[in-house]
């Protein structure tokens, strides 16, 4: 099963090196803020460099996992420390490393509790990268939960006025999802073999056995099949993270209250975990729940429907927002709908679309949140109605904002388009009506973003914003990479899609797609 162990332990280093940063910062005196920040930058830089190296080392022509690291953790329960990446997870690892590195820079101005802030940020990176590389469910779950606490405090301490509410809401929602996942994990473990020796947490083995129909012959529980329960529990766990209507209300609160860098991380990475989990768990282990051999089941249709609801509902709600950050937050809800649609399609196009959307939304939403942060730093408010004419005052800022916004609304030629288009194309094969309804979301998304542009950037100059400096060097440095990515992945989406393709083919082949 695991043929080659990566002798450099690259993934382990990527995952755990920020932990060294945590320790380093822990023993740095509290008043040496600059040292702490530099340390944080260094220890998010290391994973970034390593992730780039991983990109180089990764053999894009192979399906399946690579760069394994594997050793026994708890032998009694067959828990192993197994990490490895495939075409679905490795781009997200890279994305995480990039975003985290720039998150450190964008929070350079933090003054309150610097030490704690950066320690938590580094801890967060451990959790996120850990989830992406874990190939053992137990390990996955540990990392999954590891993210909660840093996030809680990052929002709760360094957030906006309603931070306490937002933080606990985030925590509760996510925990609610993950405990169901825990139940599913245990049930799967217990069902995975007849004897303790046969049972496993290995995602590879679980997927193998799941595809062989292991979970299909579970008992009926409360009138529903065993595998359906498992699927449902896992789905809810991931749906909350994505977030899927109606589990989404933590998102606007958390995004709005979080400090800029944390919003970036939230939108850029944390939402991706849900989509990733759906692929890694629900689709890989329970393909027969979504696909009955000839067509999508009611479950898949339901997921597609939820995706549509997300698109439309998220967009409409975004339209009613008066706060820029909230608008962007709800736009994320709309965008993640496409991920659901694409995944529900279960074909190459759909899955590729969903994955591209995951990555690209990571860059574009990160950029938008950074941009909102930039203007918030200057104006100390985010009321759309109170802005106006910023394009004349801050032309550079406006240009980058346009780039971000148009990427986000899916303008062809920019990164955001491919995910949406491919998701729709993929989903259209099975759910034409649902896709038709989703196009409303496309239109409304454009509407609210343009409305924002009109009210914030266009219009007559306003004197109060006259003295505002345009982007500083640091802000440039934070924004430019994302802008470059938005364009680059717009004109060269194959950079991503080729990387993912073998894995996507493998996943799609579970659903009757011959590659």
């Amino acid at each position: 099963m695991i043929s080659t162990i990566d002798s450099t332990h690259l993934l382990t280093w990527i995952t755990l090196s920020p932990l060294l940063g945590v320790l380093a910062i822990l023993f740095t005196p509290r008043d040496k803020a600059d040292v702490i920040k530099t340390l944080a930058a260094a220890f998010t830089g290391i994973p970034l460099v390593l992730a780039v190296w991983m990109y180089v080392k990764f053999d894009q022509s192979l399906p399946g996992y690579q760069l394994f690291d594997d050793f026994a953790w708890v032998e009694a329960f067959n828990i192993r420390y197994t990490v490895g990446v495939d075409g679905l997870s490795s781009p997200l690892v890279l994305l995480t490393s990039i975003l985290m590195f720039f998150a450190v820079f964008s929070s350079w101005n933090t003054e309150k509790g610097v030490k704690g802030y950066f320690m938590l940020l580094l801890l967060l990176e451990v959790g996120v990268n850990g989830v992406f590389v874990s190939l053992d469910f137990f390990l996955f779950y540990v990392y999954w939960e590891l993210m909660l606490l840093p996030m809680y405090f990052l929002i709760g301490i360094w957030g906006g006025p309603r931070r306490e509410y937002a933080a606990i809401k985030f925590f509760l929602y996510t925990l609610a999802g993950s405990v169901l996942m825990l139940v599913a994990m245990i049930a799967m473990y217990l069902h995975s073999g007849a004897t303790a020796a046969e049972r496993t947490f290995s995602l590879i083995t679980l997927a193998q056995r799941g595809q062989d129909g292991l979970f299909a012959n579970g008992p009926m529980l409360f009138g529903m099949e065993f595998r359906h329960w498992l699927f449902l529990f896992l789905f809810i766990g991931f749906a909350i993270k994505i977030p899927v209507f109606p589990f989404h209300t933590w998102l606007p609160d958390a995004h709005v209250e979080a400090p800029t860098a944390i919003s970036v991380v939230l939108a850029g990475i944390l939402l991706k975990l849900g989509g990733y989990g759906l692929m890694r768990m629900n689709m890989s282990i329970f393909p027969d729940v979504m696909w009955d051999g000839s067509g999508p089941t009611a479950w898949a249709t339901g997921i597609a429907f939820l995706g549509m609801v997300n698109c439309v509902y998220g967009a409409f709600v975004a339209m009613a927002q008066t706060d820029m950050k909230k608008l962007v937050a709800y736009s994320s809800v709309a965008h993640m709908g496409f991920v659901l649609l694409g995944l529900a399609a279960m074909n190459q196009n759909g899955i590729a679309g969903a994955n591209l959307q995951l990555f690209n939304h990571g860059t574009s939403s990160a950029m938008l949140f950074l941009l909102v942060g930039v203007i918030y730093d200057r104006a100390h408010h985010r009321e759309i109605a109170r802005f106006g004419g910023l394009a004349s005052h801050l032309p550079m800022y406006a240009s980058l904002a346009f780039l971000g916004i148009f990427t986000s609304l899916g303008l062809p030629g920019l990164a955001g388009f491919w995910g949406e288009a491919l998701s729709l194309i993929g989903a259209y094969q099975h759910f034409p009506k649902i896709v038709l309804a989703s196009t409303i979301g496309l239109i409304v998304t454009a509407a609210f973003f343009l409305m924002m542009i009109r009210k914030v950037f266009f219009g007559p100059k306003k004197e109060i914003y006259a003295g505002y400096p345009d982007l500083t060097l640091r802000e440039w440095a934070c924004l430019t990479p994302f802008g470059v990515l938005c364009i680059l992945l717009g004109v060269a989406p194959f950079l991503l899609s080729d990387w993912m393709k073998p894995s996507i083919d493998a996943l799609a082949s579970l659903f009757g797609v011959k590659s």
């Binding site: 303008l411 094969q429 239109i443 219009g459």
Partner: protein
């Protein structure tokens, strides 16, 4: 790879595409330098000029040279084009000349596209954008006569507009940015023309929309441009959503978005060797029609067809060169171009719909043009109307006529807009009521505009006349022998000519003739500098002898003949391939006569109204007051949207009250208001219901918590009693289980 080999259009095509992009990048990245700020036009002029040169080369190479070599080779070869040998010279390529609308293909007895076509993919020249396994998106370049001609038109107009703008935009604080956007637009528009993939076409389609958005909103400090730009983008977004759904349908049917592959798949369907997978249980015909209609949603918005035309007049808030380039000559014509590009795909029902939409647009927009006082808006409605003509033509089967009109129109309408720009530049107003008598002061502008006007009106021997008459002929051929309703397009096309003449003469009259009505402005008026007049002259020249018609300049063929239609595969597939009669000479002559008569009527009306003032326009207004009001209010389209969506009771009364103040914003506000309303409702739902449920659960558990705490009274004996009760309860549970 032989893509870059000498003698192929590959290099040129790539240069055409990438040079403007390079220009854009240059201007964008050197935004802060002194050079770009002051001389931001130099690089763009160079790039677009080179592009023009390349376009002409391609045109010469692929059209003139080629057709000269193959003058006799009608319809003999065909699909060989796709298997062209490695040397890539065009010699191997086959050409199907146009001897009639469907003739070539049928004569050959084959459904292969008989027309000349050069595809970069045959020469290894493609750029793989993405490959998911199911969908492989190779960006390639496909050039045929349609493309080659279109390239020339676009680069030429773009070059002239660039040139014109150096003067018109002189001194604007965002001078270099203006050129950057022009460049970006040129890139997108040329990409739209060159691409061989429907999905990529859609990409460029949206990109031109984006450029349009930014250029309309160029003066975003003012009140109107931002609104207008947003309105334009949103209206187009509606159309694009339909377009996208159409692409989805196409992909679902054929599993590809590559145009030539779609063609060959359609071909298989037409030959009966393949079937279209069904959807919703529809038959192939319905499916194709629906797909066609969805695809047509895009052109409908982009080419400002009723009822999605509302954005175009508003778009005049942008700088005038932009109006000339984007909203008259090129982008709005992209819809027509696209219909032409996938013409084989449209079923007869679909085409009839297109014809109907075109007809309605042609008539409505022309009537609005009659009464508007804003010079640019008159031209805008005129554009609408002419685009209607083109659609009408395509719809009735006049493929080459419609596209030919596209080319002629591009030149004279650009000329008109640039002329209007010249006037506006001079008198600083767009309201024709404040102009008048400028004939003497602006002789070049006046003369060029007059020529363009005559061309537009279709006065014989001006370019417009040729294309228009072809349209009318086709409409008549289409309508004859069918029921009366099918004759309507032809009748309106003929009648529209008179209207056109009337409103254009009115424009010229109000602007250039008579006494100056605003002396202050008149005194400041002056002829524009050469940078502005030269483009006018060039365009006027082209309007005069529009691209050489009727001289067979191009390899022994006249221009429209180059634009041979593809086989109507959809119709063939559905067995609807009725063969329309040819427009014989008699018909052509009849049309000419009728058109002239109508023009005469138009002219007489104009003369009586404006020259002799018996009765003057006021009387007309008085006599047809209701009609006039309706027309001046643009047929209440904006209001219709607003009224229907916001449900404001008695629409008419209401509209009359608000009309002048808020006309511009109406539709966007209307649709926007509904969106906002729905958004607010959803947001409320979000807060009250979704969040509310969570909070309810919250409060509930708090309430329970409070109640639960009550039993912790602090009184020891209560505790004891509870414990005893608890024991009893547990026993009870056991009994229950027993």
């Amino acid at each position: 790879m032989d893509f870059f080999d000498d003698g192929t259009p590959g290099w040129y095509a790539l240069a055409i595409l990438l040079l403007p992009l390079a220009g854009f990048c240059f201007n964008a990245f050197t935004y802060r330098t002194e050079f770009t700020r002051k001389r931001g036009h130099i690089v763009p002029l160079l790039t677009i000029g080179t592009a023009l040169f390349c376009a002409l080369s391609i045109f010469k190479h692929s059209v003139i040279d080629y057709d000269a070599d193959h003058a006799g080779g009608h319809g003999t070869h065909a699909a060989a084009a796709h298997g062209a040998p490695a040397d890539g010279s065009a010699d191997e390529h086959a050409s199907g000349g146009a001897d009639g609308e469907h003739g070539a293909a049928r004569a050959a007895g084959s459904l292969a596209d008989p027309r000349w076509r050069w595809s970069s993919k045959d020469h290894g020249g493609s750029y793989r954008l993405i490959d998911t396994g199911a969908l492989r998106l190779d960006a390639g370049i496909a050039i045929d006569h349609l493309t080659a001609t279109m390239l020339v038109v676009v680069t030429l107009v773009a070059f002239l507009v660039h040139l014109y703008s150096t003067s018109y935009m002189h001194g604007d604080k965002r001078y270099s940015r203006f050129f950057a956007f022009l460049q970006l637009f040129s890139f997108s528009m040329l990409g739209l023309i060159l691409t061989d993939n429907l999905l990529l076409l859609f990409c460029f389609w949206e990109l031109v929309g984006l450029c349009s958005y930014f250029l309309i909103g160029f003066w975003f400090e003012n009140e109107d441009p931002p609104k207008a730009s947003m309105k334009a983008f949103m209206t187009n977004r509606f159309g694009d959503a339909g377009f996208l759904v159409g692409i989805l349908l196409v992909y679902r049917m054929f599993g590809t978005t590559d145009l030539s592959e779609i063609y060959s798949k359609m071909q298989a369907v037409a030959e009966g060797s393949a079937a279209v997978p069904s959807l919703f249980g529809w038959e192939t015909g319905t499916l194709l029609t629906v797909a066609g209609l969805c695809l047509f949603m895009g052109p409908m918005a982009k080419s400002a067809q009723v009822p999605m035309h509302i954005w175009l007049p508003d778009a005049m808030a942008g700088p005038t060169p932009v109006s000339a380039l984007i909203h008259a000559a090129t982008m709005v014509a992209a819809g027509v171009y696209m219909v032409g590009r996938i013409y084989f795909f449209f079923t007869p029902d679909c085409l009839a719909f297109i014809a109907g939409i075109g007809t309605v647009t042609a008539l409505l927009a022309a009537t609005i043009g009659l009464v508007h006082n804003n010079i640019k808006k008159v031209l805008a409605y005129s554009t609408c109307s002419q685009l209607g003509y083109m659609m009408l033509s395509l719809g009735v089967g006049g493929y080459s006529a419609g596209l030919f009109h596209l080319y002629t129109h591009a030149f004279f309408k650009a000329c008109l807009f640039l002329g209007a720009g010249s006037v506006i530049h001079s008198v600083h107003t767009e309201d024709m009521r404040e102009m008048g008598g400028l004939k003497e002061k602006m002789p070049v502008t006046y003369r060029t505009m007059l020529i363009a006007t005559l061309a537009l009106a279709g006065v014989p021997f001006f370019s417009g006349a040729f294309s228009k008459e072809m349209i009318v002929e086709h409409a008549l051929v289409w309508g004859f022998g069918a029921n009366v309703a099918k004759l309507l397009p032809a009748l309106i096309a003929i009648g529209g000519g008179g209207l056109t003449f009337f409103y254009m003469m009115r424009l010229i009259n109000l602007t250039f003739f008579g006494q100056p009505r605003d002396h202050h402005k008149f005194d400041h008026a002056h002829e524009s500098p050469p940078a502005m007049t030269i483009p006018l002259l060039v365009l006027a020249f082209l309007s005069l002898f529009s691209v050489g018609w009727p001289i067979p300049l191009f390899g022994g063929k006249k221009l429209p003949e180059l634009l041979a239609p593809p086989p109507a595969l959809a119709s063939i597939a559905l067995g609807h391939d009725e063969h329309h009669g040819h427009a014989g000479f008699a018909l052509a002559f009849a049309v000419l006569v009728i058109s002239c008569a109508v023009l005469w009527v138009g002219y007489v009306l104009y003369k009586r109204t404006y020259k002799e003032r018996r009765p003057g326009p006021e009387v007309w207004v008085a006599r047809f007051g209701g009609l006039y009001t309706t027309v001046t209010n643009l047929y209440y389209f904006d209001e219709f949207y607003r009224a229907t969506v916001v449900r404001l009771g008695n629409a008419t009364a209401r509209v009359l009250a608000i009309v002048d103040s808020k006309v511009l914003d109406a539709a966007v506000n209307g649709v926007g208001a509904v969106g906002q309303l729905v958004g607010k409702a959803f947001a409320l739902f979000d807060r009250l219901v979704v969040d509310g449920l969570v909070n309810l659960w919250w409060h509930l558990s708090h309430a329970i918590s409070k109640k639960l705490r009550r039993i912790q009274t602090g009184n020891l004996q209560d505790y004891l009693a509870f414990a005893v009760g608890g024991m009893a309860l547990v026993t009870l549970l056991f009994l229950f289980l027993a």
